[in-house]
């Protein structure tokens, strides 16, 4: 570990560890790692103030590759470990690295409770719609009918809509990005860091060994423009090969409209502070095979300011101290009723 003095500004290199990265060649995790390492210096934090906590999975190997404090915990529990750390060390910048199995299958309960408690941490959910580390079983985000080691006849579980679930759990920052779009990913990472509260960033990540091409249509030239919708505040929802398509709300139902027929002013204007819009927006989740389906949104769906658990906790401690005075151990031990024997 080289002793960079924090006076000279840190660079991505300073966040690289001496451990060799052990993902399959071509794995989407590499590019995410690269973006995270390149964003770190921009946070204006010292390395020792940063902690990466993961569960178990290919993605959860991540902390070993970050020259910060880190814990590779147990499967599904990174969110809970991080809760204990952040509740007691609000001074630290805590990053949770988790996979779709780690966070949505075994770790589902801790995820939704972290979201409601809203501790100020960042969750990077690597969604590859498969269990990578255990060699290719389906996950709670795998598609119906998907053939995997554990579903030779196709998946019969209805998949989670991760962002709908997280918003339903009262998350205060809900976003989506992807491994193949470094610029977008870096921007989202920066915003998630800026958000005071639990930031949930779902990152589409390609597992080229067990689920190759799961997100192709969102990343490949041929299809991406028609299939993806990039969200920008105060901007209308416009997408398509030459930005020729838009989204309009008809009653309670969003519909794709052609800008040749509808003026941009009548379109849905994105506002990531509008819970109503967000609740509908996370439902843009249809099977791309479906006729007239909605495009898949990327960006920040929703952001809300809500007090953080660790702050309220500290507040009660401070309040207790002002009300009762700093605890006196002898007084506590002796209690209210005592008697002498002599």
């Amino acid at each position: 570990m080289d002793q960079t003095t924090e006076t000279q500004k840190l660079t991505a290199k300073d966040f690289v560890t001496d451990q060799e990265v052990r993902w399959c060649p071509g794995c989407g995790d590499y590019s995410i790692l690269k973006q995270v390492q390149s964003v770190m210096p921009e946070l204006g934090l010292k390395r020792e103030e940063i902690v990466f906590i993961s569960g178990i999975g290919c993605s959860s190997r991540f902390p070993y590759y970050m020259e910060t404090y880190g814990m590779h915990s147990i499967h599904g529990r990174a969110t809970a470990v991080a809760t204990g750390l952040k509740a007691t060390r609000p001074d630290l910048s805590v990053w949770i690295i988790t996979g779709d199995g780690d966070s949505l299958s075994i770790g589902g309960n801790h995820l939704i409770h972290l979201l409601r408690r809203n501790l100020d941490v960042n969750i990077l959910l690597f969604n590859n719609e498969i269990y990578g580390l255990t060699k290719g079983q389906y996950s709670p985000t795998s598609r119906p009918g998907q053939v995997s080691k554990s579903s030779p006849m196709g998946v019969i579980d209805h998949p989670f809509n991760p962002l709908a679930l997280c918003l339903g759990a009262s998350g205060t920052f809900i976003a989506r990005s992807m491994d193949r779009d470094p610029v977008h990913l870096r921007n989202i990472l920066l915003r998630s860091h800026k958000h005071k509260g639990t930031s949930l960033v779902e990152i589409y990540q390609n597992c080229n060994v067990f689920n190759d091409g799961a997100f192709e249509i969102y990343t490949e030239k041929a299809t991406r423009k028609n299939e993806t919708l990039f969200l920008e505040n105060a901007k209308p929802l416009i997408f398509g090969d030459n930005n020729n398509l838009g989204i309009r709300l008809d009653g309670f139902t969003p519909r794709v409209v052609n800008l040749s027929e509808v003026s941009a002013n009548d379109l849905w204007i994105h506002d990531d502070r509008d819970l109503g819009k967000a609740t509908l927006l996370v439902r843009f989740f249809e099977d791309p095979a479906k006729e007239g389906h909605l495009p898949r949104p990327f960006g920040v769906f929703y952001e809300e300011d809500r007090s953080c658990y660790e702050d309220l906790m500290e507040k009660q401690v401070r309040l207790a101290k002002t009300q009762k005075g700093e605890g006196d151990l002898d007084a506590l031990i002796r209690g209210k009723n005592t008697w002498e024997i002599n």
Partner: protein
């Protein structure tokens, strides 16, 4: 007045029994404090129904509070009671077998109307307090309800609230019987009902009414004199095991200059520790009610990683859920205290009853070779010292420690000659500092002579490192699949825990000679009953010794020698024989198991008989 006698007694056992709604627990606790304040040694055994509030008047709804107090040393709530106070028929039926022949029954006649008799499942027309079936006892029937209502007539309180103070009448009467002052109770009432002066007044009125009833009634009643006990000089308070545990944790955090993070998920009988701790946030205590036991233990691990003393507590079923994460803590080599307030098992079992059946789970209940320190409290006040010791070991040896208590210790009260903060042993965390020479790498798993690694917490510049549950190379802490390193690490983690034995006291006998015919070896809450049994037997001239094990892993270095210096070793446990397994394996000594698995403590009588049967 009509005082039957003015007997002197060394000690008395009173059993208060009534409906969960009758305020039995409060009556018992108040008289306990009163007589403790007077200078008696006391031991109590609250015994609630499993239901929150089982239907009024039913047997399932009976709540009991047994109090043993005296002028001599008291180590257990007593085997059977001298006085039985019953508020209704169900209470009598459920408790009469606990009363000594010739004992006194104080019965609230109002609780023996046809409805109550039916609910208590007495055959039609049978009423025990009128049909002479209790001839063998000294029966005193009083219509407590009527008395109470009379006392409060015109107080303007509704009957509901009026009847709620019935228990004060009983308390007043008992205070009269034993010549105890009403003041402690009056102070308590003033504190309790600060905001409702009318209730203070009412309860005090009834309290006095009860006391005066003793003075004025025509009913012949015995009045007893129970002297203050010759306890070691000092200042005392009364404490329960769960209180002791909570205070011990706060004390350990203070003395180690660490913040306490207490993460738990409610479960009987451990929840009261959470309730107590959450009242003391002014000590910097952070209590976290997690979504489940897994989040509780893992968040505690997160807090420990951050440099706090992470503590988690539960009872058997919840501990089962924590076992995977405890393994992680063993790998991380971080301080962690896991509290198990044991209850009747298996599975949900008997949640409100006591048992000692989680010892093997504590020792062996994890995957892989996964050693943790295990220590157990023997009494309510010992819970303070023992959990304090658990914290010391966890912090100074960087290891998870399982602290075993049980429902009996948790809820029972006893006098405690409490220590001063200054006199508590010191606890010294060893935090890693960045004293690396240029180019030198930090060794997160570098060890001292105790085989203990340093605690390098986030925020410390230059010590950035990663830990995790995969096997790691000693020293660097890097992931390692090397076969020899794995065996080395397994042995290292084992020795690290084994060496704790060099830093804890050797096993002493609690009473009796250090060698001889029979050693009664106990652990946990059997302490009081064993101590009483042995003391009484020695009085009878029987040669028997008692040793009580606090350190269950590692075992005290001299334990084997101690055991081998007796012809026989008897091991009473409130389980099916667990410590006995450990000792037979460890020392190849054929210890004799003596087991009671009924959700209730041993009585001294049971133990004395067993001991005699071995020695004759």
């Amino acid at each position: 007045m009509a005082i039957l006698t003015e007997e002197k007694k060394d000690s008395v056992v009173i059993l208060f029994a009534g409906d969960s709604g009758d305020g039995i627990q409060l009556t018992g606790t108040q008289f306990t404090n009163t007589t403790a304040l007077y200078g008696n040694d006391v031991s109590t055994f609250p015994n609630f129904p499993a239901e929150i509030r089982a239907p009024q008047g039913t047997l399932a709804g009976v709540s009991g509070f047994q109090l043993h107090f005296g002028g001599v040393e008291i180590d257990s709530p007593g085997d059977s009671s001298d006085v039985l106070v019953v508020m209704n028929a169900a209470a009598l039926k459920a408790s009469i077998h606990e009363l000594k022949n010739g004992g006194t029954i104080i019965a609230n006649s109002d609780g023996f109307d046809s409805k109550n008799l039916r609910l208590a499942k007495y055959p039609d027309g049978v009423n025990p307090i009128t049909d002479g079936s209790l001839a063998g006892y000294h029966l005193i029937t009083i219509d407590v309800t009527k008395m109470t209502r009379n006392a409060l007539s015109g107080s303007g309180l509704g009957t509901k609230e009026t009847d709620r103070s019935k228990n004060m009448f009983v308390l007043g009467l008992i205070c009269w019987m034993y010549n105890r002052s009403l003041d402690p109770t009056i102070e308590f009432l003033q504190e309790q009902f600060k905001k409702r002066p009318e209730l203070i007044e009412a309860n005090v009125k009834v309290l006095h009414a009860g006391y005066n009833f003793g003075d004025t009634t025509e009913t012949p009643m015995a009045r007893y004199e129970v002297k203050a006990a010759q306890l070691p000089a000092g200042t005392y308070r009364s404490i329960t095991g769960n209180q002791g545990t909570a205070l011990g944790l706060i004390a350990a955090a203070r003395k180690s200059n660490l913040d306490l993070f207490y993460a738990t998920y409610p479960i009987t009988p451990a929840s009261d520790i959470l309730h107590e701790l959450s009242k003391h946030k002014n000590f910097g205590v952070k209590t976290f009610q997690a979504e489940d036991e897994i989040a509780a233990v893992t968040s505690a691990i997160g807090a420990s990683f951050g440099g706090n003393i992470g503590v988690t507590a539960s009872s058997g079923p919840g501990i089962a859920l924590k076992t995977e994460a405890i393994g992680l803590a063993v790998m991380l080599e971080l301080p962690l205290v896991i509290i198990n307030v044991q209850r009747g098992g298996p599975s949900t079992g008997l949640p409100t009853k006591t048992e000692q059946a989680d010892l093997l789970q504590a020792l062996y209940g994890r995957n892989g070779e996964c050693p943790v320190a295990v220590i157990a409290a023997a009494t309510a006040h010992d819970a303070f010292e023992t959990v304090y010791e658990a914290c010391r070991i966890a912090i100074e040896h960087m290891t998870p420690v399982i602290f075993l208590s049980d429902g009996y210790i948790a809820n029972g009260a006893e006098p405690w000659r409490f220590p001063t903060a200054a006199n508590l042993p010191s606890i010294t965390p060893r935090f890693a500092k960045n004293d690396l020479r240029a180019g030198e790498k930090f060794m997160p798993y570098g060890r001292d002579e105790k085989l203990v690694r340093k605690w390098a917490i986030p925020g410390t510049k230059g010590l950035e490192h990663r830990v995790g549950g995969l096997e790691k190379e000693d020293g660097t802490g890097n992931i390692s699949y090397d076969p020899d390193n794995h065996e080395h690490m397994i042995k290292t983690r084992e020795s690290k825990v084994a060496r704790i034995a060099d830093f804890v006291p050797e096993q002493k006998t609690d009473s009796g000679a250090p060698q001889g015919k029979l050693l009664v070896l106990g652990w946990g809450s059997t302490y009081g009953a064993i101590r009483t049994a042995c003391r009484e037997l020695r009085k009878e001239g029987v040669e028997v010794s008692h040793a009580h094990v606090r350190y269950l892993n590692p075992l005290p270095k001299n334990l084997g020698a101690l055991i081998k210096s007796f012809d026989h070793v008897l091991i009473p446990e409130m389980n099916n024989g667990q410590l006995v397994k450990v000792l037979r394996d460890e020392f190849m000594v054929d210890c004799i198991p003596f087991n009671k698995i009924k959700g209730i403590p041993f009585t001294a009588t049971e133990l004395k008989e067993k001991i005699k049967s071995i020695l004759k």
